[in-house]
């Protein structure tokens, strides 16, 4: 599926944003590493998806209306068995008062280091890419850096150098240093994404988890669409 088709079908349905599932599909087309995941429409489907992905898994309510999921009881983490998955599926369906695109079953990505990568549009500078320290303390640290797109991997590397708490990108508490090449490619890809997809107004990859092996993976993503654009 082409990037444009994904966006156009979202716009045709009058969506303000793409769902997490669609957002990540779009990012995948730009080479951003995302969680392995499947959309399920029933508890049975969720169980079989979990089986093929391998336990533990995460279940998430999936809808373009759900822009900030963590506060609404629609994420179930660290599910280790069929029974866990079934119970979690039911809890999600009961707690979310929205028509869902489905329930997303995804691999549980371990890792204590979280980044946030994003895109916004500035009236003077155009599409700008953000890199920041993510996770629960993101708003406390306020450690974010910006670049105007497009830029190359040398500039992306300089972005990582500009973070105040850049030491977490190195070897950290028994975890390997982040794969800098992949991270830099993600940053340049998000810039390219912003330049090419004018109908996207904003993008969040939050969190982008760094695995203990140093691999960055987009665990959640939100693509916000420009209203009135066709």
């Amino acid at each position: 599926m082409r990037a444009d088709d994904l966006i156009q079908s979202g716009l045709a349905r009058g969506q303000k944003a793409l769902s997490e599932y669609e957002s990540k599909k779009l990012l995948g087309l730009y080479g951003v590493p995302v969680t392995r995941e499947k959309l399920s429409q029933s508890a049975d489907e969720a169980v079989s998806a979990a089986g093929s992905l391998g336990f533990p898994v995460v279940l998430k309510a999936c809808s373009p209306e759900l822009m900030h999921k963590s506060e609404r009881g629609c994420i179930e983490l660290n599910l280790r068995s069929e029974e866990d998955v079934r119970a979690a599926y039911e809890r999600i369906i009961r707690s979310v008062d929205l028509e869902l695109e489905g329930v997303l079953v995804q691999e549980m990505v371990a890792g204590q280091r979280e980044l946030v990568v994003g895109l916004n549009r500035d009236p003077q500078f155009g599409p700008c890419v953000m890199l920041g320290i993510g996770g629960m303390m993101a708003e406390v640290f306020q450690d974010t850096v910006f670049r105007m797109a497009p830029f190359d991997t040398i500039e992306a590397r300089d972005m990582t150098e500009e973070l105040r708490f850049k030491t977490i990108l190195g070897a950290f508490r028994g975890q390997k240093p982040v794969d800098m090449e992949v991270l830099c490619r993600v940053l340049t890809a998000v810039g390219q994404f912003g330049l090419e997809l004018e109908t996207v107004s904003e993008l969040d990859i939050n969190p982008m988890i760094i695995t203990p092996e140093g691999r960055p993976v987009a665990v959640d993503a939100l693509v916000v669409l420009k209203r009135n654009s066709k």
Binding site: V116, G118, P123, C128, F146, R147, F151, L222
Partner: protein, 494 residues
């Protein structure tokens, strides 16, 4: 990026051979008269044609009733008239064939509604005749080497190497005195005003090509041509450092966005990244802007951040070491060879380490030649940070105590100062490493003044020196980043 300033629309504005001025009269308190007075005070060498509807003479210059009475087409029109008269004056200039103007008058976009329309009219007239202009709502340009000062303030001091483009006119004119007192100066300074036609990016292009400009200073409240700004900066920085002082303007539109990213994108953070992407060093205040310009104009390509500190007392050495540490600079230990070479110079009361504490030696020449020479020769040193402590008064007393007759003392002082100053200059010439000073003395103190005038950066206190050194190192890193990026691109396209 242009090769020569002659290709810039600002060339005729900063180097006009003839100027028509609108708004100067014999009323001493009018702004236009002040401007003409400033032009005359600096001794502008070209022709000046005051245009005034009633006067035959303005400040002893022949005045013209209309632009059409001028014997020739001047290079530049300087317009300081009431707002409503500006578009029609621009129209007349266009019909006369004038191609460049500075509009000092305010009352345009900056005042809102009616002003916005008036500015549109002004731009339309200029476009019709192909006129390029600076302003409106600016104070114009100072190019002191060319004896041009179109500002209300009288130019003070000497021309220097700082090329400035400012979104505040005051930060051009009201800096004349500050820079002069600190023995630095503008090569050319532009006040850009509302940037209706020529903007700060055009000024950067001019200053990038200007041979008298060694470092570019920017005062920024908001960039209009954002993408061009970054590209222009990246094309200049490999050749010339750029330093900017930015005060956050209005919040960007993205603030209202739905994403986390949108919420985090305040203008200050965005500009921080934009500057770094452009290779621009960001200063924290106007005074720091000029500190960094002094440093970067003097030493544009420092190779590293390993600093050797030379003092002759503990406290100033400790403070310098602390300041360097906080600025992210390194203090390398002395090599065994350096320690061996220094031991004849340093008395047992001193300390042979980094910072080097000389205490009190017998031979003053050791402090200004022997010791710094050894320190600069140390391979682990990128630059020397040097403490100046002996005031002119102490020097005078020492000379008197040596039995020099009273009438020969002033001469002897000059001789001593020249000796010290010459040996420091010789150090610089014989070693390819920067020499930076710090002091608590006044910049009027003879030795300090003499060195500053010969291009040695000396800062009030070690903290300002350390920050300037760090900025110079940062410039090197940013420049190298841009160069690496360019060669990467070239390799990829081959």
């Amino acid at each position: 990026m242009i090769e020569s300033i002659k290709s810039s629309p600002l060339y005729a504005i900063a180097n006009p051979k003839s100027i028509a001025i609108f708004g100067a009269s014999n009323n001493a308190t009018s702004m236009g008269t002040g401007l003409l007075g400033s032009l005359l005070a600096l001794g502008f060498q070209g022709e000046i044609y005051p245009v005034h509807p009633k006067e035959n003479q303005v400040l002893n210059l022949k005045a013209y009733r209309s632009i059409f009475d001028l014997p020739k087409v001047p290079d530049l029109a300087l317009i300081v008239l009431p707002t409503r008269l500006v578009p029609e004056t621009m129209e007349a200039c266009g019909r006369k064939g004038i191609k460049h103007a500075i509009v000092i008058s305010g009352g345009f976009k900056e005042v809102g509604t009616d002003g916005v329309d008036l500015e549109k009219d002004l731009v339309a007239v200029a476009n019709k005749y192909g006129i390029r202009f600076l302003g409106p709502n600016c104070i114009g340009v100072a190019n002191p080497r060319y004896k041009l000062n179109t500002t209300f303030m009288v130019f003070e001091g000497a021309p220097g190497f700082i090329g400035m483009a400012s979104q505040s006119g005051s930060f051009v004119t009201q800096m004349f005195s500050y820079l002069s007192r600190h023995a630095i100066g503008f090569s050319t300074a532009f006040s850009v005003g509302n940037e209706a036609n020529i903007d700060i990016v055009d000024c950067m292009e001019y200053l990038g090509a200007c041979p008298d400009t060694r470092v570019i200073a920017l005062y920024i409240e908001g960039i209009r041509r954002g993408r061009a700004f970054v590209e222009m900066a990246r094309s200049i920085v490999p050749k010339k450092p750029i330093v900017a002082f930015y005060i956050g303007g209005s919040e960007t539109g993205s603030r209202a966005g739905l994403s986390h990213t949108g919420a985090m994108a305040g203008p200050d953070k965005l500009y921080e990244g934009i500057f770094r992407q452009g290779g621009i060093i960001r200063a924290r205040s106007m005074m720091e802007l000029f500190d960094l310009c002094r440093m970067l104009g003097s030493f544009p390509g420092i190779t590293g951040r390993r600093v050797m500190i030379q003092t002759h007392s503990g406290g100033p050495g400790a403070e310098a070491a602390d300041a360097c540490g906080r600025a992210g600079l390194e203090l390398p230990p002395l090599s065994p060879e350096t320690i061996k070479k220094l031991s004849p110079f340093v008395p047992h009361t001193g300390s042979i380490s980094n910072p080097l504490d000389f205490t009190f030696g017998r031979n003053i020449a050791d402090y200004y030649w022997g010791i710094p020479k050894v320190l600069l020769e140390d391979k682990s040193t990128d630059l020397l940070l040097f403490y100046f402590s002996m005031s002119g008064g102490t020097l005078e007393r020492t000379i008197r105590q040596l039995g020099v007759p009273q009438d020969q003392i002033p001469e002897k002082i000059v001789e001593m100062i020249n000796l010290q100053s010459d040996s420091i200059i010789r150090l610089l010439e014989t070693h390819d490493k920067p020499f930076v000073g710090y002091t608590f003395l006044s910049l009027k103190d003879q030795l300090v003044r003499s060195l500053v005038e010969r291009g040695i950066p000396i800062f009030p206190g070690p903290e300002r020196a350390a920050r300037a050194i760090e900025a110079a190192y940062r410039h090197t890193c940013l420049r190298d980043k841009i160069l690496a990026s360019a060669s990467h691109k070239e390799a990829a396209s081959r």
